[in-house]
């Protein structure tokens, strides 16, 4: 039990901090309320800036342009980015496709796809979920039939984050119907400019559309775009997901802590009949509860990293982290609404809106937190079955 960092790591932290301080424009800070369009532009520009600074994908092996950073260095990097309130970038390519290609990609695939991701030139999105394959992802039905040296794809994907921005999509498609459902799935990279592809943004309850539907109508994709073997796509995707999920949250504790401090500020600055809400004993209980949860989430992340550093394999801890922070986030944003009272009605661009109506957006957006990337119910199943060994 020792929460101090080595001098080398400390030095690495200084380097990251110095760079980000120099290179992050004040107006790009992530917690500044802004429109989706503004956010996209900044995300793209930031990705390019990271590349120029040599920080594009520090976790990637050096041979592919990364730094081969240790897990602790990844933690530090993410913490510093969070501390500086830097944008998170459009990270599907770096965070999800990249690691998949290292492990399952051909040399050609790596050569073709990794450099543009690194440079921030090509944006990727994920094509996993379908209207009838949500929690039950393996029930996916988007059909791919081999026709010569191509796959011909028909079907529909949904919940593809940034789909409308993306150039390419990594997707799971069904290539075999006569075997148990996990065994007939193939992992394939699809150029979204291919004829037959239609991307449609989904309007959300926030009034914004981060998520998209993608329709495939006789879309011809070269077989060389298959990652791993035909019909082995489920395992390709799951391996990466486990990997990705266990490091996806490295910067979250600090981002949540910052959000918590903004919540405390909201309570301090919101007066009700002359009295700051931060002095209200009932609100104080709830703020303290959030404080405890945000801190504990950090410890959950730290403990996971430490066990990885000690050489333990990533397991279902990612489910715990995800379940934990998503439920916590909902409580935090609900508390913000409670603090605001009737002001909680006022959204962005309304006269009298508090903090530019940002908490309203966060409140609505947080409803997705317990659904996307595995509902809380699915996470509880995973925890109960994989960690506690309860029967299916």
């Amino acid at each position: 039990m020792d929460l101090t960092f080595t001098p080398e790591d400390q030095e690495f932290r200084e380097r990251v901090r110095e760079w980000v301080q120099k290179n992050l424009p004040e107006e790009w800070k992530d917690s500044i309320p802004r429109t989706q369009e503004e956010r996209e532009i900044i995300n793209r520009q930031w990705d390019k800036k990271l590349y120029e600074g040599g920080w594009a994908a520090i976790a990637w092996p050096k041979e592919y342009g990364g730094m081969g950073a240790t897990l602790i260095q990844q933690l530090i990097f993410n913490e510093e980015m969070a501390m500086a309130d830097a944008p998170e970038g459009l990270m599907h390519g770096k965070g999800m496709l990249g690691p998949t290609l290292f492990k399952f990609g051909t040399e050609e695939q790596k050569k073709k796809h990794l450099p543009p991701i690194l440079r921030g030139d090509v944006v990727w999105c994920q094509g996993f979920s379908e209207p009838n394959a949500g929690s039950d992802l393996a029930a996916l039905q988007t059909r791919a039939v081999i026709d010569g040296d191509h796959l011909v794809i028909n079907g529909q994907k949904v919940w593809s984050t940034w789909g409308y921005l993306a150039d390419w999509c990594f997707a799971l498609v069904r290539t075999e119907n006569t075997v148990p459902k996990h065994r007939g799935i193939t992992y394939v990279m699809i150029d979204l400019k291919t004829p037959g592809v239609t991307v449609r943004p989904l309007d959300q309850i926030t009034g914004v559309h981060d998520f998209c539907e993608i329709f495939f109508e006789d879309v011809r994709v070269p077989l060389e775009n298959v990652v791993g073997e035909i019909n082995r796509g489920w395992y390709v995707a799951m391996t990466t997901l486990t990997h990705e999920r266990s490091t996806a949250y490295l910067g979250h504790p600090i981002r949540f802590r910052n959000q918590l401090e903004r919540l405390a500020d909201l309570a301090r600055n919101t007066k009700r009949n002359g009295r700051p809400m931060s002095e209200d004993p009932v609100i104080r209980q709830k703020l303290a509860r959030s404080f405890i949860e945000v801190e504990s989430f950090k410890h959950i992340v730290y403990r996971t990293i430490s066990s990885r550093v000690r050489g333990e394999e990533p397991g279902a801890e990612a489910s715990m982290a995800k379940l934990y922070y998503s439920e916590m986030l909902q409580r935090m944003t609900e508390l913000a609404m409670e603090i605001e009272g009737p002001y909680s009605q006022l959204v962005r661009n309304s006269k009298w809106a508090l903090v530019e109506g940002d908490w309203q957006y966060q409140f609505l957006y947080a409803r997705a937190a317990t659904i996307a990337a595995g509902t809380s119910e699915v996470q509880r199943n995973i925890l109960a079955e994989h960690i506690l060994g309860l029967p299916r």
Partner: protein
């Protein structure tokens, strides 16, 4: 002893449900969300023709002379439909007139309200405070036989559409904040009044800022005795929160029905998701919360209507309970719907956002629990 609806009340319920299904489907609600005024004058007139604007107005003023239980029945159905219109506020402004208005005032306003000609609303909250007497700071200084009023009212429902705003202002600083409050019949068209619609989360409802800048209010427009406005307002609020509670119960029930329906149809892992206890028990809890809330609601409606001892407690209990329930049920519904529940296209967010607005109107659950403690302990 009958804790349930009479035949007439059941009939009323059916009529309103039928109307709402026909005339207020969610496609209509969505139209109104995009509409500048936020409601349909045509629909308003249709409802008026059915006599609903006069539901709780005595027959002598062309109303139907019914009570709070009937209003609760109606509001439940309007809640199911997420009705975009200042229905309850109009009736509550009428209530203020009934409580404190002079014979002339009643004659002037009530028949026009009952006929649907006059939309009315209430202005209480202000930028620096809300839900309590202390919040009322808009200043009225004597001028001529009346007052000159200045101040800002916030979250005023449909002030953009109203011809009458029953407004609480302060004519004196008393020892207690409840003293010195006066109700006035504000004409939104009067010089010095500026109405600004606000952008709200519940887009199917208009909340406005009402700015009063040296507005001349003649004595004839003062409602009841000067300085004695708070007790009147309290009585109005007591009915108002019961009506809102009914809207919440109706909305929650509809949300639950939608969820249960989906849980029966949506198949994942080879089974309807409603067969999984995570969903099934959540739905059962919704049912229990809704039935518990409905009990508290109808008891409150009956108790307030008959002014029995404990009616204040009952009203606050209903508002607190129904607020919690509507939010909990709609949040749970979104979770059961999963991804599609997060889309704009799906209707569940209309209910979720309505829940949030109603919760913060005239005191949230925490506020009313504290009020229960005050009255009870």
């Amino acid at each position: 002893m009958n804790f349930g609806l009479s035949e007439e009340q059941s009939m009323l319920k059916k009529t309103v449900r039928k109307f709402m299904e026909d005339r207020c489907p969610t496609t209509f609600v969505r139209e109104m969300m995009a509409d500048a005024g936020g409601y349909s004058p045509k629909q308003w007139q249709e409802m008026a023709e059915l006599g609903w604007m006069g539901l709780t107005i005595p027959e002598e003023y062309d109303g139907m002379g019914m009570g709070l239980v009937e209003l609760a029945v109606m509001m439940e159905e309007m809640g199911r439909a997420v009705l975009p219109a200042p229905f309850v506020e109009t009736l509550m402004a009428a209530e203020a007139l009934l409580q404190a208005g002079s014979a002339e005032q009643k004659k002037e306003y009530l028949p026009r309200i009952a006929s649907g000609e006059l939309i009315a609303t209430l202005a209480m909250d202000e930028p620096e405070g809300f839900w309590e007497a202390a919040a009322i700071k808009a200043k009225a200084v004597p001028e001529g036989d009346g007052y000159k009023v200045s101040g800002t009212k916030l979250f005023v429902p449909y002030a953009n559409a109203a011809g009458l705003i029953v407004t609480a202002v302060r004519t004196a600083e008393g020892a207690a904040p409840e003293e010195g409050i006066t109700l006035i019949c504000l004409d939104p068209k009067a010089p010095g009044v500026t109405v600004t619609p606000l952008k709200t989360m519940d887009q199917a409802y208009r909340l406005c800022e009402v700015q009063m800048d040296g507005v001349a209010v003649p004595a004839a427009r003062v409602l009841g005795e000067a300085g004695q406005g708070w007790p009147v307002l309290e009585k109005v609020i007591r009915k108002y929160i019961v009506a809102l509670s009914a809207e919440m119960v109706g909305g929650a029930e509809k949300a639950m029905e939608m969820t249960v329906q989906y849980a029966k149809e949506r198949v994942q892992f080879g089974k309807p998701i409603g067969s999984f206890q995570a969903i099934k028990h959540r739905c059962a809890d919704m049912l229990v919360d809704i039935e518990g809330s409905r009990g508290s609601l109808y008891y409150a409606a009956w108790a307030v209507e008959n002014d029995v001892p404990g009616a204040d407690l009952a009203a606050s209990a209903a508002k607190a309970y129904c607020s919690d329930t509507y939010f909990k049920v709609t949040a749970g519904s979104i979770q059961c719907f999963g991804g599609i529940g997060f889309t704009w296209e799906h209707d569940i967010h209309l209910f979720f956002k309505r829940a949030k607005r109603l919760e913060t109107t005239c005191g949230d659950a925490t506020f009313h629990r504290e009020r229960i403690a005050e009255l009870w302990l």
